[in-house]
């Protein structure tokens, strides 16, 4: 076999002290379709961003065709033949399909864009992805999501890639388009192109790829050829054995009085009939891969989404809260620990004190006027209860570490004495010690009779914390696990929706 087309040696990248990639050696070869597998947060996205020039490695080197390179940006990587199709669509909605396809290097005639050549080029590329039905003059805005994704493929092909990176390229496609992509990848392989393929769908990986690389916690675990490992072995490689947070003991499973009951909850195409019940004093874990509707489920319960359908019973009352304010002041007070604490959970440049009382201003005031004594007492109680380590409560919350920031978010919501706490990946990006404090706090809150609905991208946390786990796939509950049945294998299998084949 000839030398690798792209080779990474000892590449590390970290964001704000958190290692996203650590000492990664990775190589891929021309004429192969190479799958990259890993759990959420394993470093897959960081890897492809590094290869495609979006991120620069802190240490280590990248070589293309044996020559070391340093890309200043994605444009340079593209010039070297590395083209990436990102998960987030990169098309500009208000330009035509033809404009988008030739955006980086439009055909020119005397310095001006040659529209006729541009449209001919777009037509040829669209024909290659069997999308002759797409008019190159149409605005991207007017296309459906699946058509847009195919235009994205055509655009990537138009850049004449040597290495084509497809990040979740098939997630929005129809079955027919998926088959088109399959065919295309075969053609590219025959032409000597290396395709890097990221997908959460195991059957696709099996159908398409000749080599597989597994990543975990920012490390490259193993690379092997197709068929050398069974599904079960791959799952085990993805999980690893190095997650050993300590969890507080769980009470024995028991019947619980339901606080929230959902029947056939639907919202746009993200929630496709979620049914569940959350008991008093229960910690209900939500599992599944990123983007299967977990976030939308929590947002729906918190009154953020408009147009949610389905039968909902919250406590004695019917229906969802109409707004976050209604959710937190309803008969059953609901709190949400949002996914992104920096933009949704906290007002970063305000002080710790201001953040802690932001959700409970009415509790420390009379007729809209703040009561300084109650305000100080509430802030002191929040700092004490969560053990927040800070110089002064007047410091901006952005000066705190990630773990302490998340504690401020928790303190803010505990101040309203919520009955139901919705948590969207509350331990993302925080240190192990704080994680354990948060787990203990969750169990203590549940013992007080509060109900917790808890999404985590880390399966070990779901297993360690939850009384019960439901797994979402494509906006539906595909599995419900209780007690001893909550195992990593069961959750991963359900997340990939392959439990039938696994057993």
């Amino acid at each position: 076999m000839q030398g690798p087309i792209v080779e990474l040696s000892d590449v590390s990248i970290s964001f704000a002290g958190v290692k996203a990639l650590e000492g990664v050696d990775f190589a891929c070869h021309a004429g192969t379709t190479h799958a990259i597998l890993g759990e959420n947060g394993a470093g897959k996205s960081t890897l492809i961003k590094t290869i495609s020039g979006v991120l620069k490695p802190d240490t280590g080197s990248i070589a293309v065709n044996g020559r070391e390179v340093r890309f200043a940006g994605p444009a340079e990587a593209a010039d070297a033949g590395i083209v990436c199709m990102f998960q987030e669509l990169s098309l500009i909605p208000d330009l035509s399909v033809a404009d988008n396809i030739s955006l980086q290097r439009p055909p020119r005639h005397m310095g001006l864009i040659d529209r006729r050549a541009q449209i001919a080029r777009a037509e040829a590329l669209l024909a290659r992805v069997r999308c002759e039905d797409v008019d190159p003059r149409a605005m991207v805005r007017d296309l459906s999501l699946s058509r847009r994704q195919m235009v994205e493929v055509a655009k990537a092909l138009g850049r004449d890639p040597k290495v084509l990176i497809l990040d979740e390229a098939t997630s929005a496609l129809t079955q027919k388009d998926v088959e088109t992509i399959y065919g295309l990848l075969d053609e590219l392989r025959a032409d000597g192109v290396c395709s890097l393929f990221i997908s959460h769908r195991m059957h696709e990986v099996e159908a398409l790829c000749d080599r597989l690389s597994v990543f975990r916690n920012g490390r490259h675990v193993e690379t092997f050829g197709k068929g050398e490992r069974s599904d079960a072995e791959i799952v085990r490689l993805m999980i690893g054995r190095d997650v050993t947070a300590k969890f507080p003991p769980k009470p024995a499973p028991k019947e619980r009085e339901p606080v929230i009951r959902l029947e056939e909850l639907r919202w746009e195409n993200r929630l496709n009939g979620v049914s569940l019940s959350l008991g008093k004093g229960e910690i209900l874990g939500i599992g599944g891969l990123d983007g299967q509707g977990q976030k939308e489920l929590l947002l729906a319960l918190f009154g953020v989404l408009k147009g949610v359908e389905g039968k909902v019973t919250v406590g004695e009352g019917d229906g969802l809260a109409a707004s976050p304010h209604a959710a937190k002041t309803g008969r059953n007070r609901i709190a949400l620990i949002p996914e992104d604490r920096k933009t949704e959970g906290l007002m970063l440049s305000l002080s710790i004190a201001d953040n802690i009382v932001a959700a409970a201003l009415d509790k420390v005031s009379g007729r809209g006027v703040l009561d300084q004594a109650r305000l100080d007492a509430a802030i002191a109680e929040g700092m004490e209860r969560l053990q927040i380590k800070a110089g002064s409560t007047e410091d901006a919350v952005k000066t705190l570490s990630g773990g302490n920031q998340q504690k401020v978010v928790l303190a803010k919501w505990l101040m309203i004495a919520p009955d139901v706490i919705l948590m969207n990946d509350p331990t993302r990006g925080i240190d192990v010690g704080t994680k354990q404090e948060i787990f203990r706090m969750m169990r203590a809150l549940a013992d007080e009779g509060k109900s917790i609905l808890f999404y985590s991208s880390d399966y070990a946390e779901l297993i360690g914390c939850s009384d019960r786990v439901i797994v979402l796939y494509d906006g539906r509950v595909v599995s419900e696990l209780t007690g001893e049945a909550i195992t990593e294998e069961a959750i991963v299998a359900a997340s990939l929706n392959i439990q039938g084949e696994m057993a």
Binding site: P324, E344, L348, V357, L361, G368, K412
Partner: protein, 318 residues
């Protein structure tokens, strides 16, 4: 250096504005001493008079600050002010002032609805409403200055003196105390800062962002209307375009006082200092008998220059 580091970053613009105000006074005084040998700028009566004129701007800036803190902006101030003045003088009698203020209330409600519920960018919506108000007033007056006169109450508020101090100054101080209290001691004030810092996080904290943003616009409308009522009293009547010279100085005063133009940060005392600075700068330039063109150039340059100083400071501290 230690003295500088002990100053909280939030107070720095206020101190800079204060220092600059002193500097302007010194330059102006040096000029008058060298040309006429007098020091009018340091006489209390002259300063009082300047502050009396400044109180109209001060009222506009106080309201503008509420809106800027939320990260929005109110460009409808000029014709809110003019409309309120025209309505007040047209109604006359004891209801003149309430009628003028209710114009401000209505404008604020409409602005708040447009920005927070319809989610039209404030810059467009308030500018549009400003134009609508101008059209309405032109339609009513036929484009001429209305013949109505200000009522005695308006004249009193704008021109009379109490204990040797202009009543208009008392009005400005009363509004200042009220705004300071609102910002520092009420849930409304805290919500303004929260929304201006990160509207989504504030909303997800269960803060009623629509109501609070609307409240800020109502505050701005009321302040502009009050300024209009006073200004009509000061001139004894309302006239076309009386609010035109208040929009940019009001925004400039707020920003010179250290309020972040994108919201979330700022103290009222800074806005107060910003108004004083702008008023004194104007008056010193006119004492120095600068030609109008040069005055405009210096005025604009000073505002941009001071904002550059602040901008650098914050970037370093972050």
């Amino acid at each position: 250096m230690t003295a500088l580091t002990r100053i909280r970053p939030a107070d720095r613009p206020i101190l800079i504005a204060f220092g600059f105000t002193i500097l302007i006074l010194l330059i102006g005084t040096a000029y008058t001493l060298s040309t006429t040998g007098t020091v009018p700028l340091l006489q209390p009566s002259y300063l009082m008079q300047q502050l009396q004129i400044g109180s109209f701007l001060g009222l506009c800036a106080a309201g503008m600050m509420l809106v800027i803190l939320t990260g929005h902006i109110d460009l409808s101030v000029p014709w809110t002010l003019t409309s309120a003045a025209m309505v007040a003088t047209a109604i006359g009698g004891p209801w003149a002032i309430p009628a003028g203020l209710s114009v401000g209330l209505c404008v604020g409600l409409v602005n708040g609805f447009g920005v927070s519920v319809l989610r039209v960018p404030a810059m467009i919506f308030t500018l549009g409403l400003d134009t609508v108000l101008r059209g309405l007033m032109v339609a009513r007056t036929g484009g001429f200055a209305p013949q109505d006169q200000a009522t005695p109450a308006m004249l009193y508020l704008a021109k009379a003196k109490l204990l040797g101090v202009p009543v208009a100054l008392f009005v400005w101080i009363a509004v200042s105390v009220l705004v300071t209290f609102l910002l520092a001691r009420t849930t409304f004030g805290r919500s303004l800062y929260a929304i201006g810092t990160k509207e989504r996080a504030a909303w997800l904290s269960g803060i009623r962002t629509r109501a609070v943003v609307t409240g800020a616009f109502v505050g701005s409308g009321l302040c502009a209307a009050l300024a209009g009522v006073l200004l009509a009293g000061y001139s004894a009547k309302a006239y076309q375009g009386m609010g035109n010279s208040f929009l940019l100085p009001a925004i400039a005063a707020v920003v010179l006082g250290g309020t972040h133009i994108l919201g979330g940060r700022g103290r009222y005392i800074g806005t107060f200092m910003g108004v004083v600075l702008i008023v004194l700068l104007n008056s010193v330039l006119s004492i120095m008998q600068m030609p109008e063109a040069l005055r405009q150039i210096i005025y604009g340059t000073v505002i941009i220059g001071m904002l550059l100083i602040y901008g650098r400071g914050t970037r370093i501290s972050e």
